[in-house]
């Protein structure tokens, strides 16, 4: 199963990176073939403006991948240092940070996204910020947990006793140990971000037309559900497959990298 997941993930990344090179212009309109069912010329059919659905799917994969990867990176860039600091300075900073993490852990990201969209206007930037923020608590928790665990280890305690600086401990011991759980976390965060981006764009709070996003495509599809049901099938199927791929891969990686989780 993890292999199937890997295949799906690789296929998704390839579609995002190479797909736009082989498909045509996602904005090109064919007025003679609007809402056309799948055919040789348009393998996934066309939308209400006669745009090729396959080209839009391929370009939409790029948006999805960007949202997934950028938001996760953002969360890591901000979250790892916070987690490190909280773990190292337990006395005064840790309780405050962990309290905040606790209360934001299940905070409805959509509320944050709504607020952001209201302030900076709906855009991919807002999507990435909102998604990145929602992933932050998990990243902080993981990093802090590793710091605490690593500091307990005998050889690290010995290094600290030898006068090793915090920087040395962080780069030599803590970060390498964080790698596994953070990779596993990424396989959870990226698909969540893919769905998040599609959701926000579907609602009109994310990526704006005419940029092809799977969520935007589904907004269009909803209006033509009875006339052109294929428009609703493809984007959703792509989201589901990409997400499924990451989930399967994540389940597999967790078994290999994270022996503490009993599943």
């Amino acid at each position: 199963m993890p292999m199937a997941g890997l295949v799906l993930v690789v296929a998704f990344v390839l579609l995002a990176l190479l797909g736009p090179l082989v498909t045509g212009d996602p904005a090109a309109q064919d007025y003679l073939a609007t809402l056309a069912p799948p055919s040789g010329a348009h393998p996934m059919g066309t939308d209400d403006l006669g745009r090729d659905a396959f080209a839009r799917i391929a370009h939409g994969a790029q948006v999805s991948l960007q949202a997934g990867v950028l938001s996760t990176l953002l969360a890591m860039v901000v979250g790892i240092p916070i987690g490190l600091v909280a773990g190292f300075y337990r006395r005064w900073l840790d309780p405050i940070v962990m309290r905040l993490v606790d209360v934001t852990l299940a905070f409805p990201f959509l509320v944050f996204a709504v607020g952001l969209a209201a302030i900076i206007g709906p855009s991919l930037k807002g999507v990435v910020l909102a998604l990145g923020f929602s992933q932050l608590p998990a990243i902080i928790r993981i990093t802090r947990g590793e710091v605490l665990a690593v500091r307990e280890m005998d050889y690290v305690a010995a290094a600290i006793a030898d006068g090793a600086g915090d920087g040395h401990i962080i780069f030599r011991y803590v970060l390498p140990n964080c790698a596994s759980p953070l990779i596993v976390q990424a396989t959870v965060a990226i698909p969540a971000a893919i769905i998040g981006e599609a959701t926000l764009s579907f609602l009109g709070l994310g990526v704006q037309p005419p940029t092809p996003s799977w969520g935007v495509m589904l907004t269009t599809a909803q209006q033509y559900l009875s006339d052109a049901p294929w428009l609703a099938i493809w984007p959703g199927l792509m989201i589901a497959l990409a997400t499924l791929g990451f989930n399967l891969l994540g389940d597999g990686l967790r078994d290999v990298l994270d022996p503490r989780s009993h599943r």
Binding site: M98, V103, A106, V114, G115, L205, P229, A232, P235, G236
Partner: protein
Amino acid sequence: MLWFILRRCGSAVLVLFLSSVLIFLGIRALPGDPATVMAGQEASPAAIEAIRKEFGLDKPLPAQYLDYVGQTLTGNFGRSTQDQLPVADILAERLPVTLELSLLAMLVAIVVGVGAGIVAAVRRGKLADYVATGFGLAGLSIPHFWLGLLGILLFAVTWRVLPASGYVPFTEDPAGNLQRMILPALVLGTGFAAILMRQTRSAMLGALSADYVRTARSKGLSEAKVVGAHALRNSLTTVVTVLGLQLGALISGAVVTEQIFVIPGFGKLTVDAVLTRNYPVIQAVVLVTVIGYVVVNLLVDIAYAFLNPRIRLSGGTRD
């Protein structure tokens, strides 16, 4: 126990305070004068001036914040810039709709998710387990707004057995209400059912292999009692924890589901407000969502403490 609840209440108040500050500053971070923002673009200078007075927008920021809190506590959220109705009245009309949807979805998720999780764990490695696990992965991977579109496509467009959208209050037409709510509730509930199923399954697997379950068997208890009382009781804390963690996702999900099925609830209000830059409404819905989130989370924490004698009796934390 009391100490535990007090601490949770304390952190709830902290969240509410921080959120109110964020919302307050957020509105003021918008380009333009807050009074104009609150009154809407087409408002007359007199209306803008009235808002400025009402919310004390000419005072310094801390004083403004206190005024804002005071107004909010008395239920004054201002007026919608779209139709000039008091925001509080709009909320009172929209909230019950979303509450019904969320409760129905929760019901679906708990019945299907916990049930399937128990069956999968008890029948581990058998067909039922594979079916449930497969369903769990699919439910986790399929975005529910797509599931909603597929549901409309199948039940409303192709088979024509359910209405595609719309809403009738339960008090006016109970049958019609449920008929329109069943598909949205199923759609919203499926993803949570999948998450609950996976967590219940793994918690039950752990419980079923625990020594105390063997003890229960050695007493000659029926399998129903061994599984239903001894193993399940210890898995329930997991279920409650997951419910708490998924709360935010449920709120987000309700917004999307209402959009798809054109249900005039709180979520639809939120999206429409953002799209029309109806700031008084945005400010209110965000605050109300946060309050709802904090209150339900507090309830989850208390339920968790009741289920776990360690916390109930010692006042410890759950980490």
